[in-house]
């Protein structure tokens, strides 16, 4: 199953065009979403997560032949978002927060609690699951955000800047977790840390100024460049050079 994004546009007010006719297809595996600040990455994430209605265009699930399967709206329970900034009411226990969000994705208790516990275990927070959120560090909170997104084992996992604020050890852990999703549906990882994306992504989508400027495999992006960061900068320079 694929997720087809077709001619999606979104504007904030009359003057800020965050996305302009963006079209691409997300395939099973890990896709990196790349762009400088303000490129439209988070807006696209929010559109895919249902937090923003696209001004125009559509997002549909398709089968392998490209035919529409169902509209995205009908498949919301199979999409999960790890937002860029994530917090929870501070007095809530970590396990409760993750279990609650899992239940909102359609899993009844006690299954939601079991899934939450398993996800917290996977991100190395099993020993903190009974602690209130306020006792967690910023890095731990990012891992809780990851855990709540993967606890429902979604078909489409949207990770918005998952490694921001993490120390090197935690970044490696998150990379491992993302790699572990490779065979479990579609994962879209937004980041401006190219090193992270190079380590996990099979496919790459590059946005600039709200427009799609590259869609292809990581291998294609790297052709002729030493690393993903250099390749990305070359793309930007090529786009911005006067013709």
């Amino acid at each position: 199953m694929h997720l087809a994004v077709s001619d999606v546009s979104h504007a904030y007010g009359a003057s800020v065009q965050a996305l302009a006719d963006v079209s691409f297809t997300l395939r099973p595996g890990v896709t990196g979403l790349v762009g400088v600040n303000g490129a439209g990455k988070s807006t696209l994430m929010h559109v895919l997560a249902g937090l923003l209605a696209p001004g125009q265009g559509s997002v549909v699930f398709t089968d392998d032949s490209g035919g529409d399967v169902r509209r995205w709206r009908d498949l919301r329970s199979r999409i999960a978002l790890m937002p860029q900034s994530f917090d929870v009411p501070r007095n809530v226990r970590t396990l409760d927060a993750v279990a609650y969000l899992t239940s909102l994705r359609g899993f009844p208790s006690p299954e939601s609690t079991e899934r939450a516990a398993s996800a917290l275990h996977a991100v190395g927070l099993a020993d903190r699951s009974r602690k209130p959120i306020r006792s967690l560090s910023g890095g731990m909170l990012r891992r809780v955000a990851f855990a709540q997104a993967v606890a429902s084992d979604p078909d489409v996992l949207l990770l918005d800047e998952p490694t921001t604020g993490l120390d090197p050890e935690q970044r490696v852990l998150v990379r491992e977790l993302v790699r572990g999703r490779r065979d479990r549906g579609i994962t879209l990882v937004s980041s401006h840390v190219m090193e992270d994306l190079e380590a996990v992504a099979d496919q790459v989508v590059v946005l600039d100024g709200g427009e799609l400027i590259f869609e292809g495999s990581m291998a294609d992006l790297l052709v002729g460049h030493a690393n993903a960061e250099e390749a990305f900068m070359a793309l930007l320079l090529a786009r911005r050079e006067p013709s």
């Binding site: 249902g50 919301r76 329970s77 900034s85 929870v88 009411p89 927060a97 279990a99 208790s109 079991e114």
Partner: protein, 417 residues
């Protein structure tokens, strides 16, 4: 593991604490102005619905506190990305609403037990006021949520509570449509029932308004289609403007009510739903009527409770109660005295402006009766005091009573003092 896990907004300890708090607030609202409803179930249920005067503002404050905390954490963005996002975002408010309604229902059960034990009767149609009150309470809670998502944390709870209390007060004082006054009637509602159409209108305004306000608390775009929002807005605007253009619809309608009677010569009849002090009232009426009987006056065959919308039977005095005295445990002697000098149930005396000389005659006649039974004597040095014990006064009293009984106001003459 699940048994150890609280469900966020459904944490039993937290819910129980809030239930106790709201129950306490409702109880205070029920007893703060005394307990005139003690013997009248109808009035008691109306006061239970009126308990939202405190439950509502307190709930709005609690919800505003919850929502302001969540807003600060961007919880809405995560929650609203889930299929059950709107429910998840509004669940704290909905749980407070559920707890508040539960507290109000417990109060309803409690006052039902108390009033029935006092001999009152049930009128199931009156229960509709609880549904109407709960719908307005939903709007109160939604307003608390909206204020909580729009104002800084420390300010949101008190402002939400004040806004909701203000709406109730303005609704009760005709500054706003009466829909915001959930209950708290001052009379006993004897012979009356709620107009179910009016209560349905209240619900038709409050529920969509609450849903719209709840929707407005979201800072992210939801998948709601514009026609749904526009439809809700249209309903709220239509019903709301109806209140403004046509005024408050009648909340009560008159309904026939059964009487229960006691004694003879005269018989005393009260509405069965408010017959609590019947024995005491009958005894007091007989006691006060004794001087008239001794003087040879003709009493009507009965005194019947004056009930709005119902004609008094022929040859019946009008039994008048004040301050919900028909639901009290004992007879109010002054109210019985006023009833005694209304032996004809004359429509002239119930007019907006009764004949002034008739009122003066009633006052002096009441003084004569009080003096005869020894309850109160006018100062002996006053003209009235010197006159009231004379045979002439007795003859005047008998003649005046007869004219009041037969509604012959033209023949009424003021006493010669």
């Amino acid at each position: 593991m699940s048994s150890e896990t609280t469900r966020l907004w459904r944490d039993p300890r937290s819910l129980l604490g809030r239930f106790g708090l709201l129950l306490g607030a409702g109880l205070v609202a029920l007893v703060l102005g005394g307990v005139p409803w003690l013997g009248v179930w109808k009035m008691a249920i109306d006061w239970v619905a009126g308990a939202y005067v405190l439950i509502g503002p307190l709930s709005a404050g609690l919800v505003a506190w919850d929502m302001s905390r969540m807003r600060a954490t961007r919880w809405d963005r995560v929650v609203c990305s889930t299929p059950r996002g709107l429910r998840g975002w509004l669940e704290p408010a909905l749980m407070v609403w559920v707890v508040g309604v539960a507290a109000d229902l417990v109060l309803a059960v409690a006052v039902t037990i108390v009033t029935l034990s006092q001999g009152s009767v049930l009128a199931p149609r009156q229960l509709a006021i609880l549904a109407s009150g709960a719908s307005v309470y939903l709007l109160q809670v939604a307003l608390g949520a909206l204020i909580g998502t729009r104002l800084p944390g420390p300010w949101a709870p008190p402002i939400a509570a004040l806004v909701v209390l203000g709406l109730f007060v303005l609704g009760a004082s005709s500054g706003l449509p009466e829909v915001f006054r959930t209950g708290g009637v001052t009379g006993t509602l004897v012979g009356q029932a709620y107009d179910l159409g009016t209560l349905a209108l209240y619900c038709a305004f409050a529920i969509p308004a609450a849903v719209l306000v709840g929707w407005a608390t979201l800072r992210v775009v939801t998948q709601w289609r514009p026609p749904l929002v526009a439809g809700l807005l249209a309903v709220v605007a239509l019903v709301g403007s109806g209140f403004v253009v046509w005024g408050n619809p009648e909340r009560y309608v008159y309904v026939p009510t059964a009487l229960t009677c006691l004694g003879a010569e005269p018989t005393v009849c009260m509405a069965a739903e408010t017959h609590r002090p019947l024995e005491a009232v009958a005894a007091e009426l007989h006691r006060l009527a004794e001087p008239l009987v001794q003087a040879g006056a003709t009493l009507p065959s009965r005194w019947t409770q004056s009930i709005g919308g119902q004609e008094l039977p022929v040859d019946s005095g009008s039994l008048v109660f004040v301050n919900a005295g028909e639901g009290a445990s004992d007879a109010d002697s002054q109210a019985v005295l006023v009833s005694l000098v209304n032996p004809g149930g004359c429509p002239e005396l119930r007019a907006q402006v009764p004949p002034p000389h008739a009122l003066q005659v009633q006052r002096v006649l009441a003084s004569w009766i009080e003096a005869q039974v020894g309850d109160r004597q006018p100062p002996p040095t006053s003209a009235l005091g010197r006159w009231i014990t004379t045979p002439a006064a007795e003859a005047w009293a008998v003649a005046s009573f007869e004219r009041l009984r037969t509604c012959q106001f033209k023949g009424l003459s003021a006493p010669p003092v």
